[in-house]
Symmetry: C2
Subunit: 323 residues, 2 copies
């Protein structure tokens, strides 16, 4: 998806003085593939990512050799999330920064488990560690605070940040049981085969931890976030709540206290005059409370398929433009 988007936006990128080449691909299925002269992207996309590495290029077997053979300037990291330890993403990002490449990730784990180390390393190497795609599919939340809200103090936030649970709750409101709604979400590809990361609130908690770490500058551990999933809600309870005008939402919260931050992820009933009540399906919202703007909300309605990839592309522009 990112590759298609890079192709699609190639003209706009060149207008900004940015040219790019794909010199490495690594997936579980294909292993580590590198070609410093650049792969032919069109052929590669047409061929559904089955690449023929030229025979003269040695095949790398680990991330560092791969980065070196690819002569990578930028790494796009998108392994699947391991919320408990952030691996193997952390190792990949560390390797990229150490070899002098910018590291752009769609993976929240590294922010929660290694933000301090990776951002210091990036500073030391004068490279960028960027992660806009990790929260709200690439809507520029982190960049907004980093670049466009100078001298502002974030006091707290609340929002709906996990689309799988929001889709399941929407289905339950329309008459399904929890199990039926989950099955439907899996059928349409929204929920994963093992949906526990979403259902139990892990995914949302990792997002909260990432926002707290970066935007509030407080290192928070996942176990310090009060976390409750949606698995205990019955279809009847969800429908009754909506009928009473206080629908259930899996609400994420963080609030600054005197010396730290308290945070939670749990089902809450929200009143209809609260914009959270109207965020349905795969849409998401986050409400920031700052010293200057007491209620600044960003809503993403019906994200397109390209949204996450776009977050990585925007990070790419940031990284190569500013260094």
């Amino acid at each position: 998806m990112l590759l298609r988007l890079l192709e699609k936006k190639d003209r706009e990128l060149r207008e900004r003085g940015i040219a790019w080449r794909l010199t490495g691909v690594a997936t579980r299925r294909m292993g580590w593939l590198a070609n410093a002269n650049g792969f032919e992207v069109e052929a590669l996309l047409a061929n559904n990512l089955v690449v023929q590495t030229p025979p003269e290029v040695p095949a790398p077997h680990d991330v560092r050799t791969w980065l070196r053979l690819a002569k990578a300037d930028v790494l796009f990291e998108a392994t699947s999330l391991s919320p408990r330890d952030g691996q193997p993403a952390i190792d990949h990002i560390r390797a990229a920064l150490e070899t002098g490449a910018h590291a752009i990730t769609a993976n929240k784990g590294p922010i929660v488990h290694a933000y301090e180390e990776l951002s210091s390393l990036a500073d030391a190497k004068r490279r960028r560690f960027l992660f806009e795609s990790t929260v709200m599919d690439g809507v520029p939340i982190f960049a907004l605070f980093r670049e466009n809200l100078p001298c502002i103090h974030l006091r707290g936030f609340r929002g709906i940040l996990n689309s799988t649970t929001n889709v399941i709750l929407s289905g339950m409101e329309e008459g399904l049981s929890f199990d039926e709604s989950l099955a439907k979400a899996q059928q349409i590809g929204i929920a994963e085969t093992d949906p526990s990361n979403d259902i139990e609130g892990w995914d949302a908690a990792v997002k909260v931890a990432a926002l707290v770490r970066v935007l509030m500058d407080v290192p928070i551990r996942l176990e310090d976030i009060r976390r409750e999933g949606i698995g205990k809600l019955s279809g009847e309870a969800v429908r009754l709540a909506r009928k009473d005008g206080k629908p259930y939402k899996l609400v994420c919260r963080a609030q600054r206290t005197t010396h730290s931050v308290t945070a939670s992820v749990r089902p809450e009933q929200v009143p209809l005059n609260d914009p959270l009540a109207w965020v349905a399906g795969t849409s998401s919202i986050v409400y920031f409370e700052t010293d200057v703007f007491p209620g600044l909300a960003i809503t993403e309605n019906n994200p397109g398929l390209e949204a996450t990839a776009y977050g990585m592309l925007a990070d790419f522009v940031r990284a190569v433009k500013e260094t």
Copy 2:
């Protein structure tokens, strides 16, 4: 307000390597006051802006002499809006840029009537012409698109951008007539003595024109925006609409067409599942439709008194940081 905020955020500004001095003040009441050595801000604020210019400093009588005597690096321009021609703000900004100062304005008129000229002039002089405070009280709408959404195409937007009419409509929903609600809004200082700019949709139309000009890169004239105010709505009609679940809002719209943009400002009935329906009082919202994000909304709830001044402070940081 800006001056108080600059004082309040002085430490954060210094941490960013930004020091400032107030070397000129100009208001209708006080005339042009300049002192290149800097006024004493504390005394000035305590004294409610009545400044004693040192007797040895000659008193300027026009904006160019004033800028020169103040040795201004940055002009903060906040004259009241003249929607029809954008003056005198345009003359002030032009003078500032020509004398080598950054120009930061809270005034929408110059964007609608002289954007091309002033931004070219700023480029030529390697200064910035910035105007974040003109729409949504300083919420970084322009910066978001300019800096954080690279390579994106804005197809259109809709929103609620005038707080006076929104406050009046809220009052009418609560039982007042149009005249009563207007009088109340004037009493609490939301509506001006001559409220026609707001009531007739001029203020909203100028904001639409500014967003279209800058974010969609299309020069649009005010007379090309279909404009209808809220003056013809009765209290009864407004209450009935809310009771029917389709409340009236003064809705701003712009949509790209094949060769141009169509735009309107007029009362529309919006359904309750539309977030616009829940934007009450002085809050505002804008919903952007882009190629990557089909529905990206920014909401500002209950803006603080400092919000507009903050937009100018953030522009100040942008201007001096990047040049």
